[in-house]
């Protein structure tokens, strides 16, 4: 904390420009989900259209982000300015990560597993992507989207749980898989996102058993590549079946049969569309 405070002062004030505000922001704890927005993206006013209505002290907050803030700014303003600068950066970030360059930067973070891994056991530590539930700030915190089970999870850490979801937006993960179809995770088998020399002991342990398996990333039939159909991938998805002494439970088995009938119907529909030459 102390070090952060010291750095905070040094960036704004003196001729010590060794670290920009953005790199300070990115390296501070809890901001691991953010990627670096290119400076020329921020400097292009077109990209900031409308944000001046969202952020108080917009001009000064922008100056702070781009390290052009005057030294004369009073100390009492500086505190609130920092909050506004974070908001402004977050809103710019939401726009940036749906651009081509922004997506590419986030793909790197995704492959590194910076956003964490899916807590669902059968997703086998699939890498997650941040997503907002709403594009308006101060409404909902950030959630994590798993491309394998296509569901949303809350971040494990409360540091991340308090980040505003609007800083990532509702579009981002789906646009990423739309632009990079090769990254769409397979519904079964180990995740594609690199061999993940995993940091978490548990993930590493589980993967150790699979080391004999050839690396399927890129080529294998598991990957959802350009020419491969995803119509029937849902059939490969594993699911958990509750059992008492090995026997399935009436009500949950019934629900699961119903869900699988829904699945089969969707698969049949998609295959029908496909064979008709879509």
């Amino acid at each position: 904390m102390l070090r952060r405070a010291v750095e905070d002062i040094s960036t704004g004030s003196d001729s010590d420009y060794s670290r920009s505000w953005i790199s300070w922001f990115l390296s501070s704890k809890g901001n691991e989900y953010f990627c670096e927005v290119d400076e020329d993206f921020i400097l292009d006013r077109f990209n900031l259209t409308g944000l001046n209505n969202e952020v108080a002290n917009y001009a000064q907050a922008l100056d702070l982000i781009t390290d052009q803030l005057d030294d004369e700014v009073q100390d009492e303003l500086r505190g609130s300015l920092d909050v506004q600068a974070r908001l402004l950066y977050g809103l710019i970030h939401a726009r940036w990560i749906v651009t081509a360059r922004g997506l590419a930067k986030m793909v790197e973070k995704y492959k590194r597993g910076d956003f964490g891994r899916c807590p669902r056991v059968l997703c086998q530590s699939q890498s997650l992507l941040p997503v907002g539930l709403i594009d308006i700030p101060y409404e909902k915190s950030v959630k994590l989207y798993c491309g394998r089970c296509e569901d949303l999870y809350s971040p494990k850490s409360s540091r991340h749980g308090s980040i505003d979801g609007a800083y990532f937006g509702t579009t981002f993960p789906h646009l990423l898989y739309l632009v990079y179809p090769t990254l769409i995770p397979p519904k079964t088998g180990p995740p594609l996102d690199g061999p993940s020399n995993s940091t978490s002991g548990e993930g590493g342990k589980r993967r150790r058993g699979r080391e004999e398996m050839p690396d399927v990333s890129g080529t294998g039939g598991e990957s959802v590549g350009e020419g491969i159909s995803t119509a029937s991938v849902a059939l490969k998805a594993e699911r958990y079946r509750p059992r008492i002494y090995g026997f399935q439970l009436h009500e949950s088995a019934k629900l699961q049969r119903w869900q699988e009938a829904i699945r089969d119907r969707q698969v049949a529909k998609l295959e029908e569309l496909e064979t008709r030459g879509s």
């Binding site: 807590p119 669902r120 056991v121 059968l122 539930l133 709403i134 989207y145 296509e150 569901d151 949303l152 809350s154 579009t171 993960p173 789906h174 898989y177 739309l178 179809p181 769409i184 978490s200 002991g201 548990e202 342990k205 959802v224 159909s229 995803t230 119509a231 029937s232 991938v233 849902a234 059939l235 594993e238 699911r239 958990y240 509750p242 059992r243 008492i244 002494y245 090995g246 439970l249 009436h250 009500e251 949950s252 019934k254 629900l255 049969r257 119903w258 869900q259 699988e260 009938a261 699945r263 089969d264 969707q266 049949a268 529909k269 998609l270 295959e271 029908e272 569309l273 064979t275 879509s278």
Partner: protein, 384 residues
Amino acid sequence: MEEPEEQEDGYTSSTPTSTLTWISWFCSLPGHEYFCEVTEDFIEDDFNLTGLNSMVPFWKEAMEMVLDVEPDEDAAKIPDVSIVESSAEMLYGLVHQRYILGRAGQQAMVDKYESGIFGSCPRVYCVGCNVVPCGRSDLPGIDTVKLFCPNCNDIYVPPSSRFQGVDGAFFGTTFAHLFFQNYRESAPAPFWKPPASGGSSLSPRSSGARDRSSPFVNPNPYGGQKRAAGYVYVPRIYGFKVSDRAKCGPRMQWLRLRPETPEELDQVDWRGRWIDEDEYEDDEDEQDRQMEDFDPDAGDDDDDEEEEEEDEDEGGPKQQQQHGQRHTNIPPVRTAVHAVRTLPTASRQDGPGATISLPPATGGKVKLVRQWTATRPPVLTGTA
């Protein structure tokens, strides 16, 4: 990483605090929060331990340690206390697996459940539904403890790494589900109707607020008696739903979907097929067959073609949608095609020539799919 630390903990805190029983000390260790305290009577009853002595090395010494009995004078033959320590842990864990299935154990666990000691489901649309520990196997040494959410019927990795040293067998595969059979008021019902007004799918919290509006009743008295949290995430790009026709479109919503009424569950038979589709078969089937026969590019794949024909014999089920939002007006579906595609190669080796002569009764899509799922490694089915 955890293991050596725990062991060291064992030496330091077990010896000096003699007032604390081994069991309560064990249950208070970091990472052992999920365990409840098994009563000594239960452990002392030999019937409850049937079969365990073959699984636990140093059985006698481990029993003495768990029950805080002074060891015999010939304890010196044990080379290292830590071996007995781990045997005692194994013994306690396996007894615990049995204990929590009984009345007293379930009661002890429901107290922990209601105070939220096991945590809540990480899935956003389960809206913080409390979870219970569960194992993926009843045999020790196979997998660590997981958490079962009764709302989404799925299992999750505990959020903290300190639970990664805890064996799932110490909770077993049965406990979680027996628990929700016993405490039905904590088990969400399998159907869910979205609230009529207001609550958009973007606000998961609104489902909780609705709970007070009217008392919830599941017509099945043996089913879950709690109102479920039923929202399913719908991916959107710039506010527009991603179509399932897109390659990256949604494929997994079925996994979390619930019917609006309990009657809809009965529309699927025990084989997983829609019951009311039969009535649509006769009139639609003829049309479909004609389209097939005159399909210009029918000749490119012999295998598929044969399978398609075979399927038509028993009639393609008509798409019949209950959910208005997903209504499709697509003609009857040829089902066997993809089913065969997903089968393991083994069943394909029946020989390409044999395909036509297969009895039509075996051709159902779902049946074949079932066959495929049954070939998964039987991790989940393990029983003691």
